[in-house]
Symmetry: C2
DNA sequence: TTGTATGCGTTATCAA
DNA sequence: TTGATAACGCATACAA
């Protein structure tokens, strides 16, 4: 009649099953190194008591957790969802569990989350982009926690990454847009302060303009935080000015969808009056109206390869190696030649 | 010149600072119970060594983790994002950390995740909906882990929840739709098998039809898994049949957006030819074209209240109590009277 | 204010 | 195949 039974431990299971704790432990971790008879007894005891192993104790004794942490800027939209999903699925195949944390794009929070996951015993970490204080990398090193950067690829960085070339991807798109006759360009960018992807994408446009003999300085840039509403407002701001662009690049699809929405509200036709270009090719891009012309990022492939690389490192000691993935341009209905 | 320094522990910090481990521990947990002088020494040592507390050891010694687990069906879309964000923000205020896990709407995976989070020492759990095997609740009880159900409110259930009445919400909407003259109704539903929210929403429509003297049996129901594409296909299926409805309810906004897309592709005008109704009122609903008429769910409020309830339980021992939140109907542009 | 000593639940080494 | 036992890193009751 105890109103509060204690939480069952390995020891309780051992007692109930009439064996030693070592045997119970083996039963859980190396089932074949234990006789069928004992195994049955133990499993029965586990079931009867509702035993669940204590992760902390296990981690401490085994010195590993089979857990890999993923730290992403935001869960609020689908940008990272598909890639993470693939990451998790692949990890699972190798016996690892994923732990996610988000940072709201704030470096302080990211550091906090990194420490938190390391402290929780993450065997490795998945990070987005290269941009962070060197102290963090030092910390990870002294803690012996390998980290893999994704969503970006920077040959110059000595940090290994599995990602794509943000600059080049955007540059390709911009080059096409310029070929179509667009000269007056604008960009709705995510904040570039602590975001190397956003920065690289902007640089890509500059580069394309330069290559085409257009003065990069003419690019109208509006930086804004994330969200459909923010994209809409930025678009309104740009189109409310004297010098109206004929093509508006967006740092990602979410901002682009916001832009499309505001365009509709303002009575501006896309792509007749202005072209709008996204980035990422998330599901939203297909269902936007009009369907969005954008840069396709191989999110699933990225997540999967990242998971494989990390698993192989942890399981077989195979070092991480830089992997560059290809992006492609997806033409839908929001981009038209200038002499439409 | 060691290529591999060991990970610093409390003991290392103590040695470096020339104090005992107890003092270092206090320094971390009760900074004011230690003299400024020693505190400085200790903090310096921590900094110098790059020390980070071992969560597992700490959890084991302290018998709590200040961590609350949240288990949601999916992270792939924004349905749960806003609520979770609010949940996390509020938890943070009370000193708790949120751990998220997702289940892909699969009961087996949910059970696995529940065990995993409990084993990780979660002090409490946030769950979505009531629907799960009683064994799970028993397990949580023997483990002493309180769980709070959200996204649903069932007065009949003895499990405490902070949520809204899915059936009533949908019933209200359906009643309005019927008042507008619609008699031929259809529903694109999420799979109802292990989803009490989806089930309740469907029941709500049945109820409204019955109240209005319409035979519930006439409701055309298509169940589908989650996603914009799935919603589109379901809509196509419904509109391809002989008996075309004049109003199509959707189990959530994501499915509805898919329906809108397919309608456009099929040359069907919304709401002139057919009305489309969503559920949830996520950001997507506002930017859909046409903007979606839907049921607004107070996601942020729900997350916040859930966090408060759990914090108070854990911190002050105040028991959880059932909380019913109100939903509202949001009229945008996808619903029109039948004699349009 | 500080230190000592013990225990938390598990794994893993070593014997049996 | 099994059992005894020593870590693992930390918090805390108690003593100083």
């Amino acid at each position: 009649m105890n109103s509060k039974r204690a939480i069952p431990t390995l020891h309780d299971v051992a007692t109930t099953a009439g064996v030693s704790t070592a045997t119970v432990s083996r039963c859980l971790n190396f089932p074949d190194r234990v006789s069928p008879r004992t195994k049955d007894k133990v499993l029965a005891a586990i079931e009867a008591l509702g035993y669940s192993p204590n992760f902390g104790a296990r981690a401490m004794a085994a010195r590993r957790t089979n857990t890999i942490g993923a730290i992403i800027p935001t869960m609020e939209n689908a940008i990272f969802a598909r890639g993470l999903q693939a990451f998790q699925e692949e990890l699972r195949l190798h016996g690892f569990t994923m732990l996610v944390a988000s940072t709201s794009y704030k470096p302080e929070i990211e550091e906090e989350q990194i420490r938190s996951l390391v402290s929780r015993g993450a065997d490795a970490l998945l990070l987005i982009g290269h941009d962070r204080r060197p102290e963090i990398y030092d910390f990870l090193e002294t803690q012996g926690v390998p980290a893999l950067v994704t969503w970006a690829f920077d040959a110059a960085s000595h940090r290994t990454s599995v990602g794509f070339d943000n600059q080049r991807a955007m540059q390709e798109m911009a080059t096409e847009v310029i070929k179509l006759g667009h000269k007056k360009l604008a960009l709705i960018s995510a904040e570039t302060a602590n975001n190397d992807r956003a920065l690289a994408r902007r640089t890509g446009i500059y580069q394309a303009m330069e290559d085409a003999g257009l003065p990069p300085h003419d690019l109208q840039v509006v930086e804004t935080s994330y969200g459909i509403v923010e994209g809409a407002n930025a678009f309104g701001e740009i189109m409310g000015r004297g010098q109206k662009p004929t093509a508006v690049f967006c740092g990602n699809d979410v901002l682009a969808v916001g832009a499309l929405r505001r365009a509709r509200e303002m009575g501006i036709s896309v792509p007749q009056d202005v072209s709008v270009i996204g980035f990422d090719d998330i599901e939203l891009a297909q269902v936007a109206y009009p369907p969005l012309t954008t840069v396709h990022v191989p999110h699933r492939e990225m997540g999967q390869k990242a998971a494989r690389a990390l698993s192989r490192l942890l399981l077989e000691g195979i070092p991480l190696e830089p992997t560059l993935l290809k992006t492609t341009l997806v033409y839908r209905n929001t981009l038209a030649p200038i002499n439409f």
